[in-house]
């Protein structure tokens, strides 16, 4: 049985410290939707998604009520759509995006992921079509998320794809310029993209996944920050213990919800993702955790070390709390979605270069960062190449979600609303890597012996 204090602690975590389940994401395979006819393909995709996820939102709401814990998002990820685009043209691919968007609206889910391509070694026809269609697909849809994997530790970095994604991001920013270039907020460029990630915008249903699967992402930066504050003036080993204990409790709730959702929906349980995912809400910030450890502001000297410890302790605590762990599993540092990161970027303490260093020790990458609208495609590709290199060399997932906000300059702010938050436009170095990027080709896979 549990004590009165245990009960009050749980209630306090939920009511005061923003503990929630960030997402229940159902992965759905679309392999059996293949068809000669583009119209029939779209029809089959619509039917499959609607059929598989029919009860997702209702089930999520039931669980929410039963345990009194908010489940913020119910989402769907699908097989990378590029695998179904081999016989389509870009208009046909956009039609698939619209089909997914329609399904998302009718199901009542806020995002559907998987408008994706995996091109770490090279691009097949379907991937070419899908990548070319991304700007228009993100322009005409509201809830579709797109991702492109351009590098992996085993394959190296596809620099042709890196160069291309710089241009695609610029085009997406332009085509959605009337909405703060919001298309770019739904587009991620990955290295070592996981197959079972429940978080958007990077979720897709990987090629080795079952027919359908339930993956759950937990949250809880507010809970961790409060626990550290309560711990008072102790040394860092003790702080790590506090984080581990807290992460354990948070993850146990994720595991409970995942099991329950899996049983109610009759869909296999996949993984619990241990990521600490912030929201723009006050008190739900990863930056505040780092500051509660003793940094004056996130981005100052010591930030990378604090983040490394946080990320490691979250995993150590979380891994014992769940039978299956996967996805991204790390601390997220999206600038626009984290009140503390926004403040640090606005004050100039947090810069892109520091964020890049931080991504070497945490999940996931340069996330939700607005840069000036006149940033060139080559500079964006250069930033992507740097970030992907960190992931490829360190055998970890890294990602880039940059928003070159059309017409905006440093000091401006772009608002996306809801969980996507508000991004201060951050300065980037404008010296050109154009010649390097134009060389194209593939950066070979890194060696994994002779470690030093």
């Amino acid at each position: 049985m549990f004590s009165r204090n245990d009960i009050l602690e749980t209630i306090n975590m939920i009511k005061e410290e923003c503990l929630d389940i960030r997402t229940i994401t159902m992965g759905i395979s679309l392999y059996d939707c293949q068809s000669d006819s583009p119209g029939r393909l779209a029809e089959k995709i619509y039917d499959k998604v609607m059929r598989s996820a029919a009860n997702l939102v209702r089930t999520g709401e039931e669980i929410e009520k039963r345990y009194g814990i908010p489940i913020i998002n119910k989402r769907v990820s699908v097989t990378p759509v590029s695998l179904l685009c081999g016989q389509l043209d870009t208009a046909g691919a956009v039609k698939i995006a619209q089909t997914l968007d329609k399904a998302a609206h009718e199901l009542g889910i806020n995002f559907i992921g998987g408008y994706s391509a995996l091109v770490q070694k090279g691009s097949c026809r379907g991937a070419d079509v899908l990548i070319d269609s991304i700007p228009e697909a993100l322009n005409v849809t509201e809830r579709v998320c797109s991702s492109v994997n351009v590098g992996s530790t085993k394959a190296g970095i596809n620099m042709d794809a890196v160069a291309r994604m710089g241009r695609i991001i610029k085009d997406t920013a332009y085509i959605t310029r009337d909405r703060g270039s919001i298309g770019c907020a739904k587009l991620v460029v990955f290295a070592n993209a996981p197959d079972d990630n429940p978080f958007m915008a990077g979720a897709f249903h990987g090629i080795g996944e079952p027919e359908t699967v339930i993956n759950v992402g937990v949250s809880g930066p507010g809970v961790v920050a409060s626990a550290i504050r309560r711990a008072g003036d102790c040394d860092l080993a003790e702080i790590a213990e506090v984080i581990k204990r807290t992460a354990f409790k948070i993850t146990r709730v994720g595991q409970l919800v995942a099991r329950e959702a899996s049983a109610k929906l009759g869909v296999p349980f996949g993984i619990v993702d241990l990521s600490l995912a912030p929201t723009p809400a006050i008190g739900d910030s990863v930056a505040y955790i780092l500051e509660s450890m003793g940094l004056e502001q996130c981005g100052c000297a010591g930030t990378t070390a604090a983040l490394m410890m946080l990320n490691d302790a979250v995993k150590k605590g979380g891994v014992m709390a769940s039978s299956q762990v996967g996805g991204l599993s790390g601390a997220f540092i999206p600038v626009s979605e984290d009140a503390g990161m926004i403040a640090a970027a606005q004050s100039g303490v947090l810069c892109i270069e520091k964020l890049e260093a931080m991504t070497a020790v945490c999940s996931v990458g340069l996330d939700m960062i607005a840069v000036p609208g006149d940033t060139t495609a080559e500079v964006i590709s250069g930033i992507i190449a740097d970030e992907i290199a960190i992931g490829v060399a360190n055998t970890k997932t890294t990602a880039v979600r940059l928003i070159p906000a059309y017409g905006c300059k440093v000091g401006d702010s772009v608002s996306f609303g809801g969980l996507l938050g508000e991004a201060p436009v951050m300065p980037v170095r404008t010296a050109s890597p154009a010649k390097f990027i134009r060389r194209g080709g593939r950066i070979p896979a890194p060696i994994h012996s002779l470690k030093n």
């Binding site: 009165r4 009960i7 749980t10 009194g68 146990r252």
Partner: protein, 89 residues
């Protein structure tokens, strides 16, 4: 199966009576009550048996929340499994 009902708010006459009546109306059997009043602030934790509950549990949760709203209290009914998961290995 058990449910944990928490009640927090400014102290007033009849809080326990109102919560207990709602439980009785829904076929929920009270097993344990722990209650305190500090500086006029009322906190109660009630453990109850929901094996013979006569309404869907989600409806019971809604009725408790509504009762809280009517009386200017925060009332939450939660299934015991969330506490078991978090605090027991």
């Amino acid at each position: 199966m058990k449910s944990v009902i928490s009640v927090v708010g400014r102290d007033a006459v009849g809080i326990i009576a109102k919560v207990s009546k709602e439980c009785a109306d829904c076929g929920v059997n009270i097993l344990d009550i722990s209650q305190s009043v500090l500086d006029g602030y009322f906190t109660m934790i009630m453990i109850s048996d929901i094996d013979s509950i006569s309404v869907p549990f989600s409806e019971f949760v809604d009725r408790m929340a509504a009762l809280g709203k009517e009386n200017n209290l925060e009332i939450h009914a939660m299934h015991e499994d969330i506490f078991n998961a978090m605090h027991n290995i």
